[in-house]
Every structure is written in structure tokens, then in C-alpha cells.
């Protein structure tokens, strides 16, 4: 897949709409630019201070000394904030035409008709379309973009913002904290179960723009919510950076499922910090599908802080030519009777690289913790590679751990078998890869599962055909 052309026809969503940003900062990041972003967004003083502090931490922090090579990221050549034309709207008819056209290409309205409970679609660095169904509001559910939440629900916002991913957690979380804009904010009141998944679409558009969305989900006691985000991005000539932060607070007895299917174009650095805090008997499920991008580093985490809390993490990655998917999961057991289940599935082809990087930690005194980790890697050719870096820090003896890892290849026998049933080589490889991703496909809404299969087929065609 060519990573450096705008005219590529191979990448389905590799198009670009000529939407002019209404406002954007110049390239590079300085304290002054951070303050301008803050002013542009009408931040309260505390948020302005927060951004500036984050910027200082970002400057002071070194790049990660481990993992894939990030040295090609040119921080001085990135636009850190761009605001598209058109203010916040809630009605589809109010969405600017150009933007609508882009969403049409992505099939957003179609998906909406089928099962939307709410739409928060991010365009460039700002949410331009937000549709909250009346019944969500009636139940007291807040589903809005994060910038609006800061203004409309200042106390709730301040109480939780930055509490799960601290400002200085890592260089890219600090960068996000300094110049975040957009993202979703969700609050589900006590005992409320959201019947339908809440959805948001993201894509990077303005050339050379970094996207730093910030998502915060608070599930109050006994509530239940499923949030889905899907990403597609156009292909650009220069490297794009996506450094998001997602924070989830799952209170006593609640359940939060967060599903992501990301399909960044092959020049995007996708460096995302996702973390959840699970309180007593809460369940947090991360479902994380990574396709595309140049380098992805993403390790959805759950801190199990309350007794009986559970974490379920499914990380799925597909890496083709020139791509590196460094994905995995982190679980930290900080209370007794907590359990975690991590499943990682990755496919490397056409010279791509995948890695599972995981941490399972049990702190002293957290008794009867159960940890289950399973990593399956599929490697389609000799040029591709897969690595596993599991880390276990177990400080409590009373812990049960299971760890399983497999590496497989598509054998000539499998190919011959499927070809003898009338499948071409591409179709056979697609079938095997789609089958490998079945654990993901079966828990996705039908539309996403179909899209996933189409994407896999497309990737295989590019690699083999």
C-alpha cells in the first residue's frame, strides 16, 4: 500500500475533502500556542493552567526508550489545533455541506439510521455534529463532546478529568493534555442501562494535523454503557500524529464496554493512552481493533481498584507493509477477588510487524486475583514478524495466572485445500485472516463486522493480488 500519495485508489477512505479550517495555529508547539488554543476554546482558568503545566511536562519528558522507532515524528512541523467552519450543531440538516459529503463517503448517515442512539462525529479537531436522542436526555445520560462538557458540566468534569490518566503519565498523554480538543464525554447516572451503543466517528482531515481528542466516560454505580468509535483517515504526504487520551471511571457494579475499530492511513502515528478505573464489582471491557497506521502504540489498561472488579480486554491488530502494530494490554490488580482476561490477536503480512506488549500486575494484599492472557499471532509471509513482550509483576502469592501464546502461519496445505474449493489465493488468505479475527467480529455490531471483513479483504488484495 503506498503510504505517500494523495491519489491512491487502493485506500478506500483515502480521500480528502476541501474543507477550510476556520482557524488553525501555525506549525509547532510552544507555551504561547498552548495558551492560544486555550483562549480559542474559552477555557476556564484551571484548564488553562492544566494545559500549560502539561506542555512543560511534555517538553521535559523523554521519548519512550522502548518499542517502535518514533524518531521520525517532527513535533515542530505539526499543526496542533484546527477548527473547521461551522459551529456545534445537533441537527443533521445543519451540518455544513462539505462535511456532510465527507460523512456520506464514510457511510455515517447510513449507520445512523440503523442503530444510533447518539452521534458524536469528530471532524478535524472539533466536534461538528452531535445528535443526542431525546430518550438519552430523559434518562439523565450526558453524551456530548468533551469541550462542551467542560462548559456545561464544570463540576462533574473537573471532578474526574485527568484522574485516571495523570498529566505526566507519558510524553504523549502530556501532549494531549496540553492541546486536547474534541472527543466524547459520557456520564451515565446510577442504575441506568443504556440500551444501544453510543457512537462516534473520527477522522483526521486537515493536512499535517495532529489529532488530540480526549474522551472521558463516567459510569455511575450499577450503570451499563457501550461506547463505539470508528476511525478512518485520508492518506497524506506527510506524517500525521494521533495522540488521544481515553479515561473511564467504572463505579461500583457498573459495566463499561469501549469498542474501537481504527483504520488510520499508513502514514499516521497512532499513540494512544487508554485507561480505566474499575471499582468494586465493576466490569470494564476494552475491544480494540487496530488496522492501518504507520506505527500504533496502544495498551488499553484497567486498574482494578475495588474488590471483585473485572477486566476483559480484546486487542486485535493487522500490520501490512511498512506498518508496525505495537499493541497489548495492561491490568493492575489492586484489590482482592479481581480478575482479568486478555486476548490478543495479531496478523502480520507483506513485511508488517506486530507485537504484543502486556503488563499483568498484582499488588501485595490483593488476594485471589485471577489473570488469563492469550496471545495468538498469525504471520502470512517470511518478510513479516511478530513479537511478544509479556511482563508479570506479581507481589501476592495467592494469584492464579494462565498465559498462552501461539504463532501460526497459513500453510501451503491450507491454501491448497481452500483453492481446491474454488477460492483464489487472496480469497483464501482473507478467509483465514477473517476467521482469525472472528472473536472480534462476533462481538461487533453487524455493520462494523462487515466493514472489518471488507477492510481485511482489501488489505489482502493489496498484499497478494
Amino acid at each position: 500500500m503506498p503510504s505517500n500519495t494523495t491519489s491512491s485508489t487502493k485506500y478506500q477512505y483515502g480521500f480528502h475533502s476541501d474543507v477550510k479550517p476556520a482557524y488553525q495555529t501555525e506549525r509547532g508547539l510552544s507555551r504561547e500556542i498552548v495558551e492560544r488554543i486555550s483562549a480559542e476554546k474559552n477555557d476556564p482558568q484551571w484548564m488553562r493552567d492544566f494545559r500549560v503545566r502539561a506542555f512543560e511536562i511534555f517538553n521535559a519528558k523523554k521519548m519512550p526508550a522502548w518499542g517502535p522507532d518514533l524518531s521520525a515524528i517532527d513535533f515542530g512541523n505539526i499543526i496542533y489545533y484546527a477548527k473547521p467552519e461551522g459551529a456545534q450543531t445537533r441537527e443533521w440538516k445543519d451540518v455544513p455541506k462539505d462535511i456532510k459529503k465527507t460523512f456520506d463517503k464514510l457511510g455515517v448517515p447510513e449507520a445512523e439510521r440503523k442503530f444510533f442512539a447518539g452521534v458524536g462525529a469528530q471532524y478535524d479537531s472539533e466536534t461538528v455534529y452531535h445528535n443526542i436522542q431525546k430518550n438519552l436526555e430523559k434518562q439523565g445520560i450526558i453524551f456530548t463532546d468533551t469541550g462542551t462538557a467542560l462548559k456545561k458540566y464544570p463540576d462533574l468534569f473537573r471532578q474526574y478529568f485527568g484522574t485516571v490518566v495523570p498529566i505526566g503519565d507519558n510524553k504523549f498523554a502530556a501532549l494531549n493534555s496540553a492541546c486536547w480538543s474534541g472527543g466524547s464525554f459520557i456520564y451515565v447516572p446510577k442504575g441506568v442501562k443504556v440500551a444501544m451503543p453510543l457512537q462516534a466517528y473520527f477522522r483526521i482531515n486537515t493536512k499535517n494535523i495532529g489529532q488530540f481528542e480526549r474522551t472521558l466516560i463516567i459510569a455511575d454505580e450499577g450503570s451499563d454503557v457501550h461506547y463505539i468509535e470508528g476511525c478512518t483517515a485520508p492518506v497524506y504526504t506527510t506524517d500525521a500524529l494521533h495522540a488521544a487520551v481515553v479515561e473511564i471511571i467504572a463505579k461500583k457494579g457498573s459495566r463499561v464496554r469501549y469498542t474501537t475499530i481504527q483504520n488510520w492511513s499508513a502514514n499516521v502515528y497512532n499513540l494512544v493512552t487508554k485507561r480505566a478505573r474499575a471499582e468494586e464489582n465493576a466490569l470494564v471491557e476494552w475491544i480494540d481493533g487496530n488496522l492501518g497506521s504507520k506505527i500504533t502504540m496502544k495498551y488499553p489498561s484497567v486498574f482494578l481498584v475495588g474488590r471483585g472488579a473485572r477486566a476483559d480486554i480484546l486487542s486485535v491488530a493487522l500490520a501490512g507493509k511498512g506498518q508496525c502494530q505495537d499493541a497489548g494490554a495492561k491490568v493492575v490488580h489492586m484489590a482482592s477477588d479481581t480478575s482479568s482476561n486478555i486476548v490478543s490477536k495479531s496478523v502480520a503480512f507483506g513485511g508488517g510487524r506486530t507485537a504484543y506488549r502486556g503488563l499483568a500486575q498484582v499488588v501485595k494484599g490483593a488476594k485471589n486475583a485471577k489473570i488469563k492472557v492469550r496471545c495468538d499471532a498469525l504471520i502470512l509471509d517470511k518478510q513479516s514478524r511478530s513479537d511478544t513482550y509479556p511482563t508479570m509483576k506479581i507481589e501476592e502469592q495467592d494469584t492464579r495466572i494462565e498465559h498462552e501464546a501461539t504463532v501460526s502461519r497459513i500453510s501451503e496445505k491450507e491454501l491448497f485445500y481452500l483453492k481446491s474449493r474454488g477460492f483464489s489465493e487472496t480469497e483464501a488468505a482473507s478467509l483465514v485472516v477473517a476467521g482469525f479475527f472472528e472473536p472480534l467480529a462476533k462481538i461487533l455490531p453487524a455493520d462494523y463486522a462487515l466493514e472489518l471483513n471488507r477492510l481485511i479483504e482489501m488489505e489482502m488484495e493489496n498484499a497478494i493480488g
Binding site: 485445500y417 481446491s420 474449493r421 474454488g422 477460492f423 483464489s424 476467521g435 472472528e438
Partner: protein, 240 residues
Amino acid sequence: MLSVKKITVEREGKKVVNGLSLNVRKGEMHALMGPNGSGKTSLCATLLGSPSYRIIKGSIAFGKKNIAKLETEERAKQGMFLSFQEVPEIQGVGMSSFLRTVAKKQKGGDPRAAVEHVEKIAKQLGLSAHFMERFLNDGFSGGEKRKSEILQLVAANPKLAILDEIDSGLDIDSLKSIAAILKRMVKKGMGLLLVSHSPRIIKMLKPDYIHVMCKGTIVTSGGKEIVKKLEKEGYKSYAQ
């Protein structure tokens, strides 16, 4: 329909089929018998164009076309089917959706009718709805693997079926059901090449022709008298 003319086949530089000829016409049932290692499975794989085998002499025609250079999937689409002794297990690919796809691959067929027919056959073979939701060959018993191959055969509805040791691991009831299914398909015009080293299924199906293969070639062809002789004397008498 299938016309194999004096083919010699190599695998990794070693001759595995040596000057073999064979003709199968529409609606004919042929049995190919032979001891282990006589080259039966190599012949089957060659007929479907396995990349592990190389034809160094002779020709293979299907219909009127020379297919020796045709890709495996093209041979399948022309109406050739091979059942495998050793089947790969493919995770995440459900039986019913796979069978549906196989049915769709066939030129000029009616996939919906084919799927309905497959479901009927599955019931005849005593396979539950749950079986149809399992993954392709994943954790199947020996008998289930054979039945999975038969279901794929029914879905593909080929002009020529080459069945390699389709009877191994089957209980007598399943064997009878499969024999009945095959007889019906042959009656409708399918050519059948039944490859086996055991006389059990041969006696049940009563093929029109029986061939004995030894050291890469057919050493004798005839009718049911061959089975009798084999049962008495084994393959030794042919192996000279």
C-alpha cells in the same frame, strides 16, 4: 471427462507417479486401490494442481481442455472436487457460511438450492445444527472430518469427485449413508474416482472399474473379481 495420459510426477525430485493413464467418463464410478505409499494421494493432489507436485511427462485433460497448467481454483470452478485425507482446521470460519461460499463458487449453480440440499444431507448424516455452527474441521473427530468433506462435495456439486480415503474412521451406519449419497450423485451424472486401500467401501459401492496402483502406476484394471483376489492375496501379488 477426465483423461490422464501417461503422466509422470515428481515431488521434491522424487518420482511419485510413473507413466500413469486413466479415463473417467460422465456417470462412471472408478475405484483406485493400492497399498500405502503407492502414489494414490500424490495422484489426487496432482489432478487438482497442488504446487508440491510437478508433472514432468504426460497430460491431464478435463472435458476437452488440457488443465495441467491451470490454477487449482480454476480446476475447482470447472467442476473438479477433491476430498482430503488430512484436512486443515480453520479457526473462526463457520461450517454453514463456508458451505454457502463453496456453493456460490460453482459456475451456473443455484447456491440457495445447493445450501438447502446440503442441510438435508447434513441431517441424513446425523449432524446437528450445532455442528453447522462449528468452525471448519476444528476439533472434528475422524468421522466428522469425512462428513465435512461430503458436505463440501454436496455443496460444490462437481462434475468429477476424487475422494481420497473417504471411508476411513467412519462407522458402518455413516458409511452406508455416504455410499447412498454418492450413488445418487453418480446416477445424476457425476464421475467418481474413489481412492482407498480398503475393500470395505468398494464392496458397498460396486464401482464400474477397479484399478490397482503400485509404485506410481496402475498395474491392473478390472471388475469386482479384483477385490476378491485382493482380499485373498493382498497387494503382494501385484507388487512384483
